[in-house]
């Protein structure tokens, strides 16, 4: 038995018989048994096609199907193709313990045939509200295929159609309607069989001569509105609506014959089969376009008029939960503004909010996108060093607010990431590069001493403030003792390198040298980028040594 919903089709085999001659006004019986017996398996049903010479209608025929038990015979009148086949039909069906109803559809053409189909069961409610149609929307016949649709199986499957309806499980009577959707020859015959009574009846009512005409009014995309996550997918089906000559409607899922597009671009992608993938947050309209046909009877022909066919669906790509993947640089100086800090990640939305666990830290945004925020981060001068958590909160996209993922439910709108505040505390002698008597370069005629060192900016716990370009300026105040009789001079600014280091030369020149063993003590106070450094150095100048904080 062939599948009923059109998603499966039976293999089609054509077996020609040898030509026979029927005399004028004569009759001849032709047994099909010899042909059917040549097939590898018994057939539950078949179509019979007779070609004859002579004028149309000059031959009449009837097919008698005799069940093997010999207690059921079904006679079917043979129609002429061309003007005799049933292009559509509305026929009664009945099911009970002894009665079956089967619709046979035969595609008589060499091309596929789409079929509009619906079953309406008698309304069993009291008072009756009218039957609700049940649609098959994927019914397609291959060339020369005969399809048998068993109404009992269709009813008992209880598979919802596009309208979420089923044939009521208890339904026993109703009508079944079908119509061609393409202008090709299709024969239809509804057969009701009561084996216990040995009775069969069949119908081939033809209600409309032309295929169903496409109607834009009932065509829609399903789902017509939905939400997606970024990278989430949703398949859209197009259900086209057709009307027969009596205004009865049928639906057909069109499949991949539409051209798909979306507007604006960049929010979703759509493949040729209507599969939509979320690309970036936002809203888009997905459009399916094709060409439909309207049929108008014209004698024995059907005039065709092409019309635009298609529809649209709206899709909103939802906000994802923000994720911070990196912050660069992720260390910021206390009391300073670190410009151009890049917070990278995803799902930030169009107007993200950046917050910090330390209120002394602020971000002036210099730009934001769904994946990157540029911050000029200022750490208040009174902030302590240490870790600070950065939180990015999405506010949705394009002012539309937060859009929940498909399926709803609550979700986080922010993400956190640790960063660090550096609080420069001291300028420390990291190493001595050289020292010795200062020459005339620095002291002129006076004797003196010079010490070349590498200084490093450190936090209170000794961590290097490894930031280049910090301007270090100092002031040296000579106090007591001052056995060398020196004054303060030549304090220059320095700039840290990437390690937070800078070269420094301490120098003392005195007429008391080189003979004096006394010393001149000084306090060296620092500023970094204009802000005072908490720790001051204690510098001891002697004729043959210079120490900083005892080093």
């Amino acid at each position: 038995m062939a599948a009923q919903d059109g998603t499966h089709s039976a293999a089609t085999v054509q077996s020609p018989l040898a030509p026979v001659t029927v005399a004028a006004y004569g009759a001849q019986d032709i047994s099909l048994a010899s042909v059917l017996s040549q097939l590898p398996a018994a057939l539950p049903f078949a179509s019979v096609r007779i070609q004859y010479s002579g004028a149309p209608g000059s031959l009449q025929a009837q097919v008698s199907s005799v069940e093997s038990g010999g207690n059921l015979v079904v006679d079917s009148h043979v129609q002429n193709e061309g003007n005799g086949w049933a292009g559509s039909g509305a026929n009664p069906w009945h099911l009970d313990n002894d009665t079956e109803t089967i619709l046979f559809l035969t595609n008589e053409s060499n091309q596929p045939a789409r079929i509009g189909f619906k079953v309406t069961a008698n309304d069993l409610s009291t008072p009756a509200k009218g039957g609700v149609p049940y649609y098959l929307t994927k019914l397609r016949l291959n060339p020369h295929e005969t399809r048998a649709i068993d109404l009992r199986k269709l009813r008992d499957a209880q598979q919802p159609d596009l309208k979420k309806n089923t044939v009521p499980a208890a339904a026993m009577d109703g009508s079944v309607e079908w119509i061609r959707l393409d202008n090709v020859a299709v024969m239809g015959r509804l057969m009701t069989i009561n084996r216990r009574q040995g009775m069969a009846s069949n119908y081939d009512c033809s209600s409309c001569p032309c295929p169903g005409s496409y109607s834009e009014a009932g065509t829609d995309l399903s789902p017509s509105s939905f939400n997606l996550a970024v990278n989430g997918t949703q398949s859209i089906s197009v259900t086209a609506y057709f009307e027969n000559c009596n205004g009865d409607g049928y639906y057909e899922e069109v499949g991949g014959s539409f051209s798909w597009s979306s507007e604006p671009t960049g929010v979703v992608s759509v493949d040729s089969n209507g599969n939509v993938t979320g690309v970036a947050a936002g809203s888009a309209t997905v459009v399916a376009l094709s060409t439909g046909t309207i049929y108008v009877p014209n004698g024995n022909d059907c005039l065709e008029e092409e019309v635009p066919e298609g529809g649209s669906a709206t899709v909103t790509v939802a906000d994802g939960t923000p994720v911070i993947s990196s912050i660069n640089p992720h260390y910021w100086l206390v009391g300073a503004t670190t410009a151009g800090v890049i917070i990278s990640g995803q799902h930030f939305g169009t107007s993200p909010v950046v917050n910090f666990s330390d209120p002394a830290v602020t971000c002036i945004q210099a730009g934001a996108s769904d994946t990157q925020i540029t911050c000029n981060i200022t750490v208040g001068v009174n902030a302590s060093g240490g870790t600070v958590n950065v939180t990015v909160t999405s506010q949705g996209y394009n002012g539309s607010g937060f859009i929940a993922f498909p399926g709803g439910g609550s979700q986080a709108t922010s993400a956190s990431y640790p960063a660090n505040k550096y609080a420069p505390y001291a300028a420390v002698v990291l190493s001595t590069k050289s020292q010795g008597a200062a020459g005339a370069n620095l002291c002129g005629a006076m004797p003196g001493w010079a010490r070349n060192v590498t200084m490093q900016l450190q936090t209170q716990n000794g961590t290097p403030v490894a930031v280049a370009g910090i301007t270090m300026a100092d002031q040296i105040s000579v106090g007591t003792p001052n056995a060398l009789g020196v004054t303060s001079a030549a304090v220059y600014q320095h700039n840290t390198d990437v390690s937070g280091d800078w070269p420094d030369t301490y120098v003392v020149c005195s007429t008391a040298c080189p003979g004096s063993t006394g010393e001149a003590d000084a306090i060296q106070s620092w500023t970094w980028s204009g802000r005072p450094l908490p720790h001051s150095n204690y510098v001891v100048y002697k004729c043959k040594s210079i120490t900083v904080d005892g080093r």
Partner: protein, 241 residues
Amino acid sequence: MRSARFELCVFAAVLALSAAVHRTSLGGAQAGQSPPILAKRVASFSVRGVCLADTLLTLGQQEQVPLGIEYVDRDALEKPISHDFRNATIGEIVRALLGGTGGYTWRVRDGVLNIAHQSTAAPGNLLDRVLPDFEISKCSVGTASAALYFALYRDLHPEVTGYAGEFDPGNPDNVIGPLKLRNTPVRHVLNLLANGSKKRAWIVRVPPGHLDQLPPDGLWTIIEYENPPRHVAQWLLREIF
């Protein structure tokens, strides 16, 4: 065995220049014949929203023109300007940058484009002070700059019996000297520092009208040309004002 006592810079007197032999080319209000620096053609020079001081330093870095800037006011350090020059000479660019700002003068001295102001011509400008004797051995530019500071300090305060401090010796690869100069203005020494084998700039670090005083943290600073150019205006603004 080598003595433990050594000189940080070794004396080698190889250069003796007199202020009297300085070649000078005038620009701005006193513009005369264009020397090679001002005639140098620049294919393209653009700045966007950069103050005048950083604009000049960017031009110097891009074209490797040594600069000496002895006047900076708040506008020069704060006010953003934007310019696009195509196929213009250094002179035309400088004229466009400084010509309309009022009071600026510029001239090429010692191969250095010196940018001054009418007010800096006042008596007492320490850049005009003539040092009777300035000698350094081959040393870093930072050390040479400090040596010039100490020499000026000693010249201004011959009574001192000593001084103590510290300075930035700078990149040890940027060396200059030996120099042995007699009766030389401070500006000329600075120009020599700026116009070494590697070009750089010097810029004063005092507000207008204060060139007659030597502050403890110096009267000038040396700006090494880096790529990309280092913007110093914000720092100078903080230091000066």
